[in-house]
């Protein structure tokens, strides 16, 4: 059922955890020898910290060094480092679907089949060697003072209908933002032209921001009443005092889950440690740690307030949209961007 509280919770069935599938012993031994693994990630330090701590506790002798970078910066930096012969990341983690597609094409990914693979859902396998670490939903965020909870829409279609009343009070991030592109493309994949119509109706009355930070700040101030396709990471902030002003929802037809993918790189200096690390990230304990960091785990048997089963329970099975790394994304991107921009008056 739909909820109207500040943080929608549902106790969904999380299923049964499958058996542990670790890497083979020789890889593990080699990894211990390598001693460390370097990660480039697009997630924030404080999200990664609990994950890394849990890994290091479980795998003594392997240290994870993590560096937070922007999506594009990460891939460019990797390529520049490889081209200049410097040392570079062993594992990269990003939500940028198009970036990943290019990265895979340029041979940046080590084609490695993780032992977890058989136990992972299909959508978690994004390309050869590329695995979803989490499936982070986008959400709709509202300012309660401007738009009381009982007036808030619960679907994109509702939002589109309300758009003329909320003229200028609807916000979203620009399509150049990878989350927005991911969400939009996934949404359109399911709703096609109807989806476009909805977006166009909203777009005529909405403003765009460069990133989540300014979007949420303006929303809290009351400049915006509603924001959609907002990165799910902000859920962690909407508690206590903030919740007095702001609430969020999983819009039934507008909550795509976007894969945050990880892969071992082809230029990894610590390939074995990288494999151990990736293996653990995909394991049930790894997914549990992901939950503490505020990511959205998807594996069966992982109990988590923010987990995929929770989202599924709220929006309903039939409405679940899970993003892919379909090669079409790269080719269609220019059209999507252009039409989106047109819809939002850019």
């Amino acid at each position: 059922g739909s909820t109207s509280s500040a943080d929608p919770t549902a106790s969904a069935d999380v299923g049964q955890a499958s058996a542990v599938t670790p890497v083979d012993a020789s890889t593990l031994a080699a990894a211990r020898k390598e001693g460390e693994v370097l990660l480039y990630t697009n997630s924030e330090e404080q999200q990664m910290t609990p994950v890394i701590k849990a890994f290091e506790a479980a795998n003594p002798g392997i240290r994870v060094r993590s560096l937070t970078l922007g999506n594009q910066e990460m891939f460019q930096r990797y390529q520049t480092e490889v081209a200049s012969g410097g040392s570079t990341a062993d594992v990269v983690m990003s939500s940028d679907a198009v970036g990943w597609l290019l990265f895979m094409r340029s041979g940046g990914v080590l084609n490695y089949r993780d032992p977890n693979s058989p136990n992972l859902p299909d959508y978690a396998l994004l390309g050869p060697g590329v695995y979803a670490f989490s499936e982070d939903p986008v959400i709709a965020v509202f300012n309660k003072a401007v738009l009381p909870e009982d007036k808030q829409p619960t679907t994109m279609a509702d939002l589109a209908k309300m758009a003329p009343q909320l003229d200028g009070k609807i916000g979203a991030t620009a399509i150049s933002n990878v989350i927005q592109f991911g969400a939009t493309s996934a949404y359109l994949q399911k709703y096609g032209d109807t989806g476009w119509k909805t977006l166009e109706q909203i777009g005529a009355h909405a403003g765009l921001e460069s990133d989540n930070g300014p979007l949420v700040t303006k929303l809290a101030q009351g400049q915006y009443a509603a924001a959609f396709f907002v990165s799910g990471t902000v859920r962690a902030f909407i508690v206590d005092d903030v919740a007095k002003v702001v609430n969020y929802r999983y819009l039934k037809d507008g909550t795509p889950l976007l894969p945050r993918a990880a892969a071992v790189t082809s230029a990894a200096k610590h390939p074995n440690a990288a494999k151990v690390w990736l293996n653990w990230l995909l394991s049930v304990p790894g997914q549990e740690a992901a939950c503490t960091g505020g990511f959205t785990p998807y594996r069966d048997g992982v109990k988590c307030d923010f987990g995929l089963p929770q989202v599924k329970a709220i929006v309903g099975d039939q409405n679940l949209i899970i993003g892919t790394f379909d090669a079409k994304l790269a080719t269609e991107q220019p059209q999507i961007v252009a039409r989106f921009n047109k819809a939002f008056g850019r």
């Binding site: 924030e44 594009q72 520049t80 300012n143 989540n212 930070g213 700040t217 303006k218 400049q223 005092d241």
Partner: protein
């Protein structure tokens, strides 16, 4: 008995060393950018060939020219506003008896110590159309904040908050240096105090004014955070956001186009420099420190001083006090919105979040090291470069003036990229790149322009006779420059250090390609924070930073206390 001088080498050897090393660190990184702008593929891909297509694409793109127009408008507005405020404050707060001038000076300077991002948070919280103070004003009074923050003039106001104190620091040294007898002469010729200041003191500041105008203009041209956060929703593109959009947020990053844009900016700044030198003419016309010394006095403004105080205080209240209060409120509340009274949501969570995260505390330590040690070394380097560029007979001294301004004109990300490539070539081991020195060097080179901006007018004010007297006393060119010119420019050196310290403490963009997990820096940490979360944590970071800066700079004594004279 004649006393012999110790044997020395010719000064020109030193000049060449200074020149050579400056060129290596400044022009070195420009070379990859130039190459990239003339190459058909990004440098990190193999293949490709020579092309002019990047320039053609850039110069035929109407969006580019629109961005140039916006940037130019923004930069001009910022320059005019900050020069008026900065020069006015420098003259009034250092040469006259305006009441509470130390307090006003302190308030004026505070924003310099904050990263631009934090200030934007403060401004948005208070003066945005839905901000705390502007909504309060329109609800409870007939007043309204006349400028929409999300327009070019609004952004210019925000930029002025930082640029004006920079101009102030540029000019302050020159104001201090001016021989009060020159003002006295105007007074006894019949000029009222303000008139004497306007017709004698202010024109003598021309080198400082033109130079700070040049720098503020250049820096505003390159500013990224401001248009990205404030201008985006109104679809206002600046040169920086244009380039950013074609590189970082583009579907297919176009490094060649971005490099061509950077080269375009370099050419622009070189043109501006020529213009500056034209407008100045013979620097000897601004000699304010002569071989005949007079005692220092402040100008008594009489009753006017209270009026001046009121105006300054009003301007500072709007531009500085309210936004800073916004920063403080954001830092100490869980959510700052006009819809909830801040007292009900007071919290220290933002601070505990920072102190709880080791990466953040590491980045504070690293940044302090870079800003402290790097700032000091860079100050010395700039001092030396400035004397060679302006007080020597060195053949290539003109090129030094260009060299120090260039790095600031390139967008920070491009600078970082450029450094990355230079390190890759000059230091294949990667040892420098992976260390704090690498980031420090990139930050320092980027701040060269700021430091030079402080030194140049200070040096212009010092009469050449003073150096000449040292030379005939037996000092080599270097000894005379260090012992006389630089010693008399001591207040400028202090101001330079302050500016470098804060700018290196805050700098972020150039580190994107250089940072490692072992060398996190504050600016970058904050940038990542700002992109994804509400202002609270960023503001808390800002509050911590201002506290650190104040502590390090000795509560502002260091830079307000240094005098050229005993």
């Amino acid at each position: 008995m004649t006393l012999a001088l110790p044997a020395v080498r010719r000064p020109s050897i030193g000049w060449y060393v200074v020149w050579g090393s400056t060129l290596v660190v400044v022009v070195g990184p420009v070379v990859p950018i130039l190459l990239a702008s003339l190459w058909s593929t990004p440098l990190y891909r193999s293949g490709g060939g020579f092309t002019l297509a990047n320039y053609r694409n850039l110069l035929t793109d109407s969006a580019w020219w629109g961005a140039v127009g916006n940037s130019a408008l923004f930069a001009s507005l910022t320059t005019v506003l900050s020069v008026v405020l900065g020069v006015g404050a420098a003259v009034l707060l250092t040469r006259t008896n305006v009441p509470f001038r130390r307090l006003l000076t302190g308030v004026l300077i505070l924003p310099v110590m904050l990263p631009g991002l934090v200030l934007i948070v403060g401004w948005m919280a208070m003066w945005a159309p839905s901000g705390y103070v502007s909504s309060w004003l329109s609800l409870h009074t007939f007043l309204a904040f006349p400028v929409d923050l999300y327009t070019v003039p609004g952004m210019a106001l925000v930029a002025t908050t930082v640029a004006a104190p920079t101009v102030f620091l540029f000019c302050r040294g020159s104001v201090l240096a001016i021989d009060p007898a020159l003002e006295d002469a105007a007074r006894s010729a019949g000029a009222r105090p303000l008139r004497a200041l306007v017709s004698v003191t202010v024109p003598l500041l021309r080198p400082a004014v033109l130079n700070s105008a040049l720098l503020v203009f250049a820096v505003s041209f390159e500013v990224l955070g401001l248009p990205l956060i404030l201008g985006f929703s109104k679809d206002i593109t600046f040169v920086s956001t244009y380039l950013y959009g074609h590189w970082i947020t583009a579907a297919s990053p176009d490094q060649g186009l971005v490099s061509a844009g950077a080269m375009f900016l370099l050419v622009c700044v070189s043109g501006l420099l020529v213009l500056r030198n034209r407008l100045l003419g013979d620097l000897a016309r601004y000699t304010a420190v002569t071989g005949k010394a007079s005692a220092r006095r402040t100008v008594d403004l009489g009753g006017v001083r209270w009026g001046v105080f009121a105006v300054l205080a009003g301007v500072l209240a709007v531009l500085v006090v309210v936004p800073l209060a916004g920063v403080a409120l954001s830092a100490f509340t869980s959510i700052l919105t006009p819809l909830v009274t801040p007292w009900s949501v007071l919290t220290l969570d933002n601070f505990s979040a920072i102190s709880g995260n080791p990466i953040w505390s590491d980045s504070i330590v690293n940044s302090l090291l870079i800003a402290g040690v790097g700032g000091l070394l860079a100050t010395l380097a700039i001092a030396v470069i400035s004397v060679v560029a302006h007080r020597s007979s060195f053949r290539f001294r003109g090129s030094l003036q260009q060299a120090v301004l260039w790095p600031r004109m390139m967008p920070g990300l491009v600078t970082g990229m450029a450094f990355f490539w230079s390190f890759a070539i000059l230091d294949p081991s990667g040892a420098v790149r992976a260390s704090l020195w690498g980031i420090g060097l990139a930050f320092a080179v980027r701040s060269l322009a700021l430091g030079y901006g402080v030194f140049y007018p200070a040096l212009a004010a010092i009469g050449l006779d003073l150096d000449r007297a040292a030379r005939t006393s037996g000092a080599t060119w270097w000894q005379a420059s260090v012992g006389v010119a630089l010693r008399l420019a001591a207040p400028a050196m202090a101001a330079c250090f302050v500016l470098l310290f804060v700018s290196m403490l805050n700098d972020a963009d150039p580190a994107v390609f250089l940072v490692t997990d072992r060398t996190p820096v504050m600016g970058l940490t904050m940038l990542q924070l700002a992109a994804t979360s509400t202002g609270g944590a960023v503001a808390a970071f800002g509050v911590i930073q201002i506290a650190i800066t104040l502590a390090v700079l000795g509560a502002g004594r260091l830079f307000l206390g240094v005098r050229a004279h005993a």
